[in-house]
């Protein structure tokens, strides 16, 4: 049967037409590929526009097209658009092929003649290939209405609450003993200076008590299998060594525990906790966990003070980690960020000079419930500073560490400046590269701090030392910085320095990404499906990213993303089923020789050997469509839909113009 093929070449405004002679490409296809079945070749300003799509739909109906080739942008952008257009006109969507002449031609080449010639080759390849395409039907699978949210910071809490309030079940998994995340550590939030705990803790309680939320703290996801609609997730509940069904959260165990430990997580190393502890008073859930590494009983077999005093016999030293499986349809990742480790910049002296603090330490210090009860003091925990320097861009916008801007540190530093002035009356210097205050009421806050008398020095701090050169520098920290606005080097003697450390991807972001089948970008943040139009979805269907896992952002942006991902998940749940790409391998049992070469190649265990028939068989539900077995079968018995040998061989021929009619000599 000869095909009737339509070729559509897109100008993409001037994106393609500026570098490729699109009229020539269309005319060439109409003439030179006529023998292959091209009956119409058109060019149009924007093929993806509704008018462009109508053009294709009209031709399918009126000219009876059986195949369509669209030469435009990458299939990752508009394959779906044109497949849907074909479907609307009654053509099977898998009989449409995209030829990428924008990302692969016009945007990467400059010579118009060369770009036009390459476009012809790409179109020729697509025409040859589309002839070999076969009509496919999408595979519909039901969607499990449960959702997994990983990470209980504000972004994850928001996601979980939105879905739970819509009436669907959520498993909220958090690695730490309590939900709350970084926001629970802060005192004030910019630019309104409202108390972080006052706005966060009601949300935490709501998440903790919601009938539709199963809260799993002190837990980690250890395995994920399946696909959108049908994920099977294994969660490890780390042993709390406190029976949560008996514990009332009275706190007596913490009070009686004789072992004090520096709290490097919640108190950022500035305060202490006990060996059995809840990270903070408003923790949700309010059940403590036992830190086995520091517990005296686990060290030398004596103590058990907590057990002795527990009024409900909730302490259980023998508790072990437990694994449990949950089935969910969608997964939202909200695992947050790590703070840049300031010791990596030795010239800033963090870790050696006691009165150099990180931003997170300072947050804890400002917090009324923190180790200093909100008093701003030096490391001796009593002296108030008279001069404070805030160093911006520590580990951000720096070729040696992270090139990106962490976004939040400018506003955070301005907040610090305000708090220092308000609470101590000290002089505050902000050493900045640029002040970036782009969102609602942020610039106004900057103005306010300027009016309050904050000093601003435009320059990147070179070093912080305690080596005094002048009498007034004795016993002080000296901040060496060039004020680039006046072109002068300055040495600022200070009592306290706060390093506005940047945000970094979690240290284990890569491994976690692999677990969920999503990728990290160059800077290590997870890659969204589209940087502008699809910022919470990922390349893996059913997995969403919200908050700082996607890139540095502040609280309002994290909350917005949390809610956005929930809307996406709810959309999927309401559809009840999802269509999967029908790209699968299958074995022709007539030609299978039963050699079993393919059996060991499949990482998804989709291929099984049927001993009775001496042939192998592929389970389509497990097959992910990589095609490795197709390439390996020595008998050619395995075929892969969407990427068959016939399609690829034809595309090779087409790209090399082997499909053209031989020119008569």
């Amino acid at each position: 049967m000869s095909e009737r093929i339509g070729v559509y070449v897109c100008h993409c405004g001037t994106n393609i037409a500026g570098t490729v002679d699109v009229v020539d490409v269309a005319n060439w296809a109409a003439e030179k590929l006529k023998h292959q079945g091209v009956v119409i070749a058109r060019e149009y300003k924007f093929m993806c526009s509704s008018l462009g799509q109508e053009l294709i739909e009209k031709d399918i109906k009126e000219l009876g097209l059986t195949r369509v080739v669209v030469a435009a942008c990458s299939p990752h952008l508009h394959e779906k658009t044109f497949r849907t257009a074909a479907k609307n006109a009654g053509l099977n969507p898998y009989l449409v092929e995209l030829a990428s002449i924008r990302e692969q031609v016009s945007w990467v080449h400059t010579d118009k003649a060369v770009a036009t010639a390459k476009s012809k080759a790409v179109v020729s390849g697509a025409v040859s290939r589309v002839i070999e395409n076969v009509a496919l039907d999408e595979i519909k699978v039901p969607i499990n209405a449960n959702t997994l949210v990983v990470g209980g910071g504000i972004a994850g809490i928001q996601s979980a609450l939105e879905i739970a309030n819509a009436g669907f079940h959520v498993y909220l998994v958090e690695r730490e003993p309590s939900i709350g995340g970084h926001m629970a550590q802060f005192d004030k939030t910019f630019p309104t200076l409202d108390c972080s705990a006052c706005i966060l803790t009601p949300r935490m309680v709501e998440a903790g008590t919601h009938p539709n939320i199963t809260l799993m703290t002190y837990s980690e996801v250890v395995n994920v299998s399946g696909y959108i609609g049908n994920f099977n997730v294994t969660i490890k509940q780390k042993a709390r060594r406190v029976k949560t069904d008996l514990c009332t959260g009275c706190g007596i165990c913490q009070e009686k525990c004789p072992k004090k430990v520096i709290d490097n997580v919640y108190e950022a190393g500035l305060g202490y906790r006990k060996a059995v502890y809840t990270p903070f008073a408003q923790a949700v859930p309010n059940f403590p966990v036992m830190d086995v590494e520091n517990c005296i009983y686990f060290k030398n077999g004596k103590c058990k003070a907590c057990e002795k005093f527990c009024p409900t016999e909730a302490i259980d030293f023998t508790q072990q980690d437990e694994l449990m499986d949950v089935q969910v349809g969608n997964i939202i990742l909200a695992t947050g960020y790590d703070l840049f480790d300031a010791t990596r910049i030795p010239q800033y002296g963090y870790g050696k000079l006691p009165n150099v603090f990180t931003s997170l330490e300072f947050e804890r210090m400002c917090n009324a419930a923190g180790p200093t009860e909100g008093k701003i003091v030096l490391r001796d925990m009593k002296t108030a500073p008279k001069t404070v320097v805030v160093v911006h861009c520590v580990g951000s916008r720096d070729e040696n560490y992270n090139k990106y801007c962490s976004g939040i540190c400018c506003m955070q530093s301005l907040k610090f400046a305000h708090l220092v002035m308000e609470r101590t009356g000290a002089e505050v210097y902000n050493c900045y590269i640029d002040i970036r205050t782009p969102f609602k009421d942020y610039e106004e806050f900057y103005k306010r701090v300027l009016e309050e008398g904050g000093h601003f020095i435009r320059g990147k701090v070179a070093e912080i030392t305690d080596a005094a050169r002048l009498p007034e520098e004795e016993g002080k920290l000296i901040v060496q910085v060039e004020d680039t606005l006046i072109g002068k080097q300055r040495r600022i003697p200070a009592d306290m320095v706060i390093l506005a450390a940047g945000l970094e991807p979690r240290h284990d972001a890569k491994e976690v990404g692999k677990l969920f089948g999503i990728a990290c970008g160059t800077s290590g943040w997870y890659t969204e499906r589209h940087p502008k139009l699809d910022p919470v979805a990922t390349m893996t269907e059913g997995i969403y990213i919200v908050g700082c896992v996607q890139g540095p952002k502040d609280i309002p942006a994290s909350v917005a993303q949390g809610a956005a991902a929930s809307a996406r998940v709810l959309g999927k749940i309401f559809q009840k089923e999802v269509a999967l790409e029908p790209i699968k391998a299958s074995i022709n049992q007539e030609t299978c020789s039963g050699c079993r070469i393919c059996n060991g190649l499949c990482p998804f265990n989709a291929i099984a050997f049927i001993a009775d028939d001496m042939v192998s068989e592929i389970n389509p539900a497990l097959c992910q469509g990589c095609g490795t077995c197709v390439a390996a079968c020595p008998a050619g018995a395995i075929s892969g839909t969407g990427f068959s040998d016939g399609q690829i061989m034809a595309q090779i021929d087409g790209l090399l113009f082997r499909n053209l009619e031989p020119v008569e000599a």
Binding site: H76, E103, W107, V122, A519, C626, A631, G640, M649, I652
Partner: protein, 157 residues
């Protein structure tokens, strides 16, 4: 001065990493040599070595195979299988009298648009140095290969 030889190269890309790297090179408007024409596969593991031979015998002067970095395969480990096939294929090419350097394996993640562009340009230069392959040509001069084969089969019968 003679005209510079412009090689024709077929590139096989993985849907998840290197194809997206090519997309990224496009979005970032990075310029690279226009000699490579790409074919998208779902995975480098899909690459049947006969695809490479077909490309070389149909007029390509070189073939670039690209996939995810080791340990980053979208399908867990199928790029290792591509690596195995690539190494074997190089031996086959040697046996056929073809420079094994005409086929190159490149790892490029979805974030490595710059790497994709620079590797492509570098490969084009390597093939330019090797000169045209002309593998398909002698066969063409013999006439229609299929006719020859059917003649042989007639004789055999």
């Amino acid at each position: 001065m003679t005209e510079q030889f412009e090689p024709t190269i077929i590139g096989f890309t993985c849907n998840w990493c290197s194809y997206r790297a090519a997309d990224l090179a496009g979005t970032a408007r990075m310029k690279y040599a226009p000699n490579v024409r790409l074919i998208r596969l779902m995975c480098s593991g899909r690459l049947d070595p006969t695809f490479v031979l077909r490309a070389l015998s149909s007029g390509a002067d070189g073939v670039m195979i690209t996939g995810c970095h080791p340990g980053e395969c979208h399908y867990i480990e199928q790029n290792y299988k591509a690596l195995r096939r690539y190494l074997l294929l190089q031996r086959v090419l040697k046996g056929l009298g073809i420079e094994p350097e005409r086929v190159k394996l490149v790892w490029a993640s979805a974030a490595e648009g710059a790497r994709f562009a620079s590797e492509t340009t570098a490969f084009v230069e390597e093939i330019r140095k090797l000169g045209p392959l002309n593998w398909g040509k002698p066969v063409a001069e013999l006439g229609n290969l299929q006719e020859e084969i059917s003649k042989l089969e007639e004789v055999r019968a």
